[in-house]
């Protein structure tokens, strides 16, 4: 079976993000860029499915500038077979991302698309759901367990929902978005890194796809969050409980 996995280049989650003084964006100096952590989980899940189903292929797709090759190479080093990079210098909103991906799906015709549930930069948690709708496919978001049927025509997915775990069943092709507990992503091995250099990386200019990527949700400006003042140090548990009772009046 053919599995398509989406990859986004994002700042390392440990990065302390600062807003530019003019509010036009974030300060990108000295940022370490990585694969969106949820996309790593998505790649891992695709690789596990491939390992269980002989003859399968895992293709990665990303949208961004030429530098995104770095993250795609990392994904290839984890074990994906090839990569597609849609080149653009613009930051696209989820709907535009979904429209671009829908075009890629037209030619790639995957049986399954695995995505991260959320990119940790934009935090929208939307592209997977949008792509599912544009394709008219079922969606299994926030997945913590994916089980394909033996005939590879359908799947059962356990989803992390408020207050519990929901199980749904869908036919394929379908979209899965990965939640935290789906798996523990592997590290790229040294032989994997060597092999990755020779794997196919296809580049497509976004203009060639003829997709409407005009913003529908424009970012007017960015501001830093309101600062919270550090409070007082207490010396004992008793003092803490007394203050919570008499000063903060919360217990």
């Amino acid at each position: 079976m053919k599995i398509l996995v989406t990859v986004k280049r994002v700042p390392d989650p440990e990065t302390n993000i600062k807003v530019k003084p003019d509010g036009s964006g974030i300060v990108t100096d000295n940022i370490k860029w990585v694969i969106n952590p949820f996309d790593e989980i998505a790649i891992e899940e695709a690789l596990r499915i491939k390992e269980k189903n002989a003859g399968s292929e895992v293709a990665l797709v990303s949208i961004g500038a030429k530098v995104v090759q770095e993250q795609l190479r990392t994904g290839l080093a984890m074990g994906a077979d090839r990569a597609i990079l849609v080149l653009t210098d613009d930051a696209l909103e989820p709907l535009a991302v979904a429209r671009v991906l829908a075009k890629i799906v037209e030619t790639e015709k995957p049986d399954l698309i695995v995505m991260g549930k959320q990119a940790i930069d934009d935090d929208s948690n939307a592209a997977g759901q949008m792509l599912a709708e544009l394709l008219g496919w079922p969606q299994a978001t926030f997945a913590s367990k994916v089980e394909l049927a033996g005939d590879q025509k359908s799947m059962t997915v356990v989803r992390e929902v408020d207050g519990g775990l929901e199980t749904i069943a869908t036919p394929l092709p379908a979209i899965v978005t990965a939640d935290l507990r789906l798996n523990e992503p592997r590290y790229a091995s040294l032989p994997g890194i060597m092999k990755a250099r020779k794997k196919e990386m296809k580049e497509i200019a976004i203009g060639d796809l003829d997709v409407d990527v005009a913003p529908k949700a424009q970012i007017v400006k960015m501001d830093p969050p309101p600062k919270r003042q550090a409070g007082k140090r207490v010396e004992s548990v008793q003092q803490l409980v007394d203050l919570l009772h008499t000063e903060a009046k919360v217990i």
């Binding site: 709907l95 549930k117 935090d123 709708e133 929902v161 519990g164 929901e166 199980t167 969050p225």
Partner: protein, 323 residues
């Protein structure tokens, strides 16, 4: 023009607090965008819920009642909602960013070709909205272009609506569902049973981190304090990652966002991702043996101590206080 439609999510025949928050945000949006606030109740056998929604000051409650809609499924609910939006000339569709809201609203936005602003914290009179990005390190002002448009709101950013005022009208809306295109099937729901308050609704939340060392300590050390306070229990992503507790307890950027009156962080360092989910709490207490832990930078009361001593002591002190 400017009409707002609130998706009134329900569970077990009731509206959770998160839905009451959506009513408030919907009315706020309608007032600022110059329209009326309606709600839509989707499900099977939802007469009582539709009447109840009307009591929260919704102008019209559209009741989409269909056996096929008994269980929430993204494809069928998207189809149903899109029909209501188009038929009723809705400009803004709004839901709370719950698991369902996050699953459904982007799909609906794609169906409508609409702009989406997810997890917003504020609605402005000029029609813009504010939403956090980068784990709450950035607050972006977003202008949604065109109509309709879709918004999900952060549950902690608006108050729960109260019943009152003139009750609105309930209008049943029949939707045509194309069975051939609806392929998702509900199999089951395994609910986490707990006698404790719901994490996102609790007045007090006590969260544990990796400092608890294992799942057993969550039970034997943290839970007695949680229950003494009548609190909900939360956890850091690190504690969930390590398998100490289930994921639905996760507070943070990719888990739940909470803003209780009192948040007690125990043995958790306060990674950016965790702070994103709790720093709007009214009073924050941190208990950590590492005085350099970033959690102390946002806490109102900081106790540098060994949690294995401090937590049982605190439980006793609270017990005495209650007399």
């Amino acid at each position: 023009m400017g009409d707002v439609l609130v998706f009134a999510e329900h569970q077990h025949g009731k509206f959770p607090k998160t839905t009451l928050v959506a009513f408030t945000a919907g009315k706020d949006a309608a007032a600022k965008f110059g329209g009326a606030c309606h709600a839509v109740v989707v499900g099977s056998g939802v007469d009582a819920l539709a009447s109840e929604a009307a009591a929260y000051g919704m102008k019209t409650v559209f009741q989409v009642d269909n056996p096929r809609l008994e269980h929430y499924l993204a494809d069928a609910y998207t189809a149903a909602l899109a029909e209501v939006v188009k038929a009723k000339g809705i400009e803004t569709v709004l839901a709370t960013a719950t698991a369902t809201g996050k699953d459904l609203m982007p799909r609906l936005a794609a169906r409508l070709g609409a702009g989406l602003a997810a997890d917003i914290t504020e609605i402005h009179a000029d029609g813009t909205v504010t939403r956090p990005m980068y784990a709450g390190n950035v607050f972006a002002t977003i202008k949604l272009v065109g109509s309709p448009r879709v918004i999900t709101v952060r549950a902690t950013a608006f108050d729960a609506a109260q019943k009152g005022g003139a009750a609105g009208a309930v209008e049943k809306v029949a939707v045509a569902l194309d069975e051939g295109k609806l392929t998702m099937k509900f199999v089951g729901l395994e609910e986490m049973k707990s006698d404790r308050p719901v994490l996102t609704e609790a007045r007090i939340v006590v969260s544990g981190g990796r400092g608890l060392k294992n799942g057993e300590n969550f039970k034997t050390v943290l839970e007695p304090l949680v229950d003494e306070l009548g609190a909900a229990m939360g956890a850091s992503r690190a504690a969930v990652d390590a398998g100490f507790v289930p994921n639905d307890l996760q507070v943070g950027q990719t888990g739940k966002v909470v803003a209780p009156e009192l948040y007690i962080a125990v043995g958790l360092s306060g990674a950016i991702q965790h702070l994103a989910g709790m720093k709007d709490s009214k009073v924050i207490v941190a208990i950590n043996k590492d005085e350099e832990a970033p959690i102390f930078q946002v806490s109102d009361y900081a106790l540098v101590a060994d949690l294995f001593k401090a937590v049982p002591e605190m439980k006793e002190a609270v017990h005495k206080l209650k007399g």
